[in-house]
Structures are given as C-alpha cells and as structure tokens.
C-alpha cells in the first residue's frame, strides 16, 4: 500500500544503511526531521478522518520538497481523500436529485478509480431504477386520470338518468293522482244515482200495491154484479156479459201487477248488489288514493322541497313522505359533482 512505501523507506534500518554509506549526520538529521514532520501531519489527518471529518487533508510539511517520496505519499493520500470526498458528494447529490425528480443529474464517475468507480456505476444504476419507477408511476397516474374521466362520464350519465327517471316518475304519479281523484268523484256520483234509483223503485212498489188493491176490489165488484145479473134473469144477461169482461180485466190487471212486482223485486236485488259492489269499489279507491298520496309524497314531496339530506339518509326508516324522490335525485347529482371535483382535484 502506498502509505507504507514511504514509511518503509524512512525506517530506522534504511536510515542506518544510508548513514553507513557516508552521509553526514546533518543530512541524516534533516531527512529524519522531514519524515517526522510528514508522519505527524499524516497522523493528525488520520485522527480527523477517524472522527469522520472528511474535509481533512494532509498539509504540506517542512522539508517535504527535499524528499519527493514524502510529497508523493502525501499527494496520493490526498488524492484518495479527494476521490472518496467526491464519491460521497456525488452519491448524495445524484440520489437527492433523483428523489426530487431531477433525473438528468447523473452520477459522474470521471476521476474516480477502481472500486469507487464501480460503486459509482452501481449507484447510478439505482438512480436509473428510480427514474423508471417514477416514469411508471407517472404512467399509472395518467391511466388513473383516464379512468377517472371515464368514471366521471358514466357516473354523471347515471346521475342524469336517475334525475330524468325521477322526474318522469313524479309526472306519472301526478297523473295517477289526478285520475284517482276523478275515479273517486265518479264513484260518489254513481252512489248518488244508486240511492236515487232505490228511492224510485220503492215508490213504484207502492204504486203497484195500489193498482193491485184496486184490481182486487174491481174483481169483487164484478163477481157481485154477475150474481145480481143472474138473479134478474133474461133482462140481466147483457149486464152479466159486461160484468164478466170487467172481472177478466181485473184478473189481467192483477196478474200484470204481480208480474211487475216480481220484476221490480228482481231489479231491487240487482240495485242492492250494485250498491254493495260500489261500496267495495269505494273502499278500493280509498286505499288507492292513500297509496297514491304516499307515492306522490315520496316522488314529488309534500310541499316541502329539499327537506334536507339528513332526512333523506334516514328516509328508509321514516317513510314520513317529507322527502321527495326528485329532491333526492337533485341531491345525488350535486353529491356526484362534488365527488368528481374532489377526484379531479386529486389528479
């Protein structure tokens, strides 16, 4: 190693040998002093280096110029320190730059030798990997942005569809509500007509009873007339014929009124059945109206638009009908826009 070469040359044995070759004491003392000064400078530098002070360099020492080996060793030692110092600075700066995305800054290994040069290549390869990773990440970010954009388009589309469906539903429910109201009105009108019809039927029943009673009386009168006519003999013959005609007429009237009474009874039964049916229809319509009102409340609200998102969140349990589907659709649309803005801001 370069460090020991100079020391070997400066060993006491070498000095003794030199002394034996006819050199003066002064020369030997001068050489010894030069080596001693060189050694002490080297020792001080070694101490600094051992403490981690990489700024340390071996300074020039007295007598160094007269003994080139001392100067050469000093230069080689400092050269090594310059290389390792440069290596440390390069490694730190190249990796720091890479971490900050400044990938153009390479690890310059010019001036480095041997292992230091090889390690410089290794570190530069790491820098290259960092660069590739950063590029891959950038690519992923781009893809994410594209996905986010597609997602945005689809979600916005769906949100719009939900809004449109809600509005269409609300419109349908409004029509349904109007129709239901119409059915209720008509059902009430039919009930009134039924009551009227039942009244008329009862009146007719009374009239027929009256006719029937008159027919019975007439028949009795006709029979009496026929008996009286038979008693007066030949003179009452013509009267008997009239009385018989009257009897037959009253019989026919009686038959007809019985028939009418029967028919009236049938139609009264039908009217009663119709009344029962109407009652059931009324009940059905009533339930339908309640259901439609509830549906309307859920879709178009109960006159309290935008009852609040908190209420919407609890809607499932509450079923209070205070939050409209159209409001929910509007809130969904707003939330979707808010979410997408946040998503795009992240990209």
């Amino acid at each position: 190693m370069m460090l020991f070469r100079a020391t070997d040359t400066a060993s006491p044995a070498a000095l003794s040998a030199a002394a034996g070759m006819g050199r003066s004491d002064g020369d030997i003392r001068a050489e010894l002093a030069a080596y001693k000064a060189g050694y002490e400078a080297l020792a001080r530098t070694a101490l600094d280096l051992a403490r981690g002070e990489l700024e340390a360099r071996v300074p020039a020492t007295p007598g160094m110029r007269d003994f080139p080996q001392i100067e050469q060793t000093r230069n080689e030692f400092n050269q090594y320190l310059d290389m390792s110092d440069g290596f440390v600075r390069e490694a730190g700066a190249a990796l720091e730059s890479a971490v900050h995305g400044q990938f153009e800054r390479r690890f310059l290994d010019a001036g480095l030798r041997g292992v230091l040069s090889k390690q410089a290549s290794n570190i530069d390869a790491v820098r290259g990997h960092l660069k590739e990773n950063a590029e891959a990440l950038a690519h992923i970010d781009e893809q994410r942005a594209v996905l986010a954009s597609e997602f945005e388009r689809e979600v916005l589309g769906m949100s719009n569809d939900v809004g449109a469906s809600a509005r269409a539903l609300a419109s349908t429910v409004e029509t349904l509500q109007a129709n239901t109201s119409n059915v209720v009105d008509r059902s009430e009108a039919a009930r009134e007509s039924m009551a009227h019809l039942a009244n008329q039927s009862a009146t007719m029943h009374e009239v027929i009873g009256l006719i029937s009673a008159v027919a019975k009386q007439t028949r009795l009168l006709a029979l009496n007339a026929m008996i009286e006519a038979a008693r007066v003999g030949e003179a009452g013959k013509g009267f008997a014929v009239v009385a018989d005609e009257v009897k037959q007429l009253s019989d026919q009237t009686s038959d007809a009124s019985i028939q009418i009474a029967q028919q009236l009874g049938d139609s009264q039964a039908t009217i009663t059945q119709m009344g029962e049916s109407l009652t059931r229809i009324d009940e059905g319509v009533g339930q339908m109206r309640t259901a439609v009102s509830e549906l309307a409340a859920r879709t178009v609200g109960t006159g309290a638009p935008g009852a609040g998102y908190a209420a919407a969140a609890e809607y499932g349990e509450q079923a209070s009908g205070s939050v409209a589907l159209t409001d929910l659709a509007g809130q969904l649309d707003a939330k979707v826009h808010e979410f997408l803005s946040a998503l795009l801001a992240q990209n």
Partner: protein
C-alpha cells in the same frame, strides 16, 4: 503572486482521468489545492493557499455564471458549470466544475468544494457560443449590474428553450 495575470492564449487540457480539487473557506479563500490544480495552474502551493478563488477567473467568462454559482452554493445547493480558468502564468484550461458547500463532521457549513473534470471539445464549443452571447449582454456594465445582465440573458434563453439550468447543463454534459 501578481493580481492581474494577462492571458497568453496558451491552452492546457485537463486529462480525462484527472480531477482538480480545491477547497475554500466561507469567504472563498483557498484552503486546499490538489497537486493537479497546482500543476495546471502553474503555481506553488504556498502561493495559492489563502488567495481568493476568483484570481483564476478568466476575463472571457461572463460574470453571470459566477453569480449563479455563488447564489446556488451559498444556498446549500450544488452547481455544475463549464468554466474557463486562468492559470497563474496566463495560460487557460476548460473544466466541468462541480461546486458544493462543505460541512464539518458536526454539520457546520465551513466552506466550499470544487471538483473539476475534463471538458470535451464538443461541450466547450457549445458553451463558448452561449458565454460569448452572455458576455455581449454585459456591455459596459460593472459590478452586480454586469453579473445580473448576463445571468438574466441566460435565464431568458433557458425559458425560451423551456429547460431548467440543470436540464440544459446535463444535455451538454451528455453530449446531446
């Protein structure tokens, strides 16, 4: 050492495998020079140590580059720059200088470090064009105004090319 060396036009070339290393204190006075520096600068160590680093400035260099250099490293950052240096005997040599702040083992900022490498003829050719334009922008200005003028010229040029200084200098280092 005389303060004003007249350039002789003699060019020296730093070998590809060699590096020049100098260290200065916080004021820019030389505290260490390696043997390559002494040889290429034609100066004895005892004549160099303690001198202000700017004694090796070549008059062809635009002042804006030194301003950029000091602005950058005094903020604790590194800077690469092509520099035409003046030897003590009037010769000159081109280098790719890497200047960095130096810290003691306790993290105290104690000075600056410059490691200089061989500059390729292609890089020198490109840099000379830029530097001569920068120099021209300095006109008759003096002092800080002079440095600011050429630095502004360079910044405008880089903005035009849409490059950071680092991207620009590394394009030249990489021979692009």
């Amino acid at each position: 050492m005389k303060q004003n060396v007249t350039p002789t036009g003699v060019e020296r070339v730093l070998a590809r495998e060699d590096i020049i290393v100098t260290k200065t204190d916080l004021k820019g006075h030389l505290t260490y020079t390696n043997d390559i520096f002494l040889k290429i600068s034609a100066v004895a160590e005892e004549d160099a140590l303690g001198k202000a680093h700017n004694i090796i400035r070549h008059p062809d260099m635009p002042a804006g580059i030194y301003k950029l250099l000091w602005d950058t490293i005094s903020q604790g950052n590194e800077l690469f720059a092509y520099i035409k240096n003046l030897a003590f005997d009037g010769a000159h040599y081109w280098v790719l200088a890497h200047a960095t702040p130096s810290f003691s083992k306790d993290g105290v900022h104690v000075g600056y470090h410059s490691m200089r490498r061989h500059a390729t003829p292609e890089a020198i050719k490109k840099i000379e064009q830029v530097y001569s334009a920068m120099k021209a922008s300095e006109g008759d200005l003096h002092g800080t105004a002079r440095a600011q003028a050429s630095l502004t010229w360079l910044e405008d040029e880089l903005r035009r090319q849409q490059l950071s200084y680092s991207q620009w200098i590394w394009q030249i280092v990489d021979g692009q």
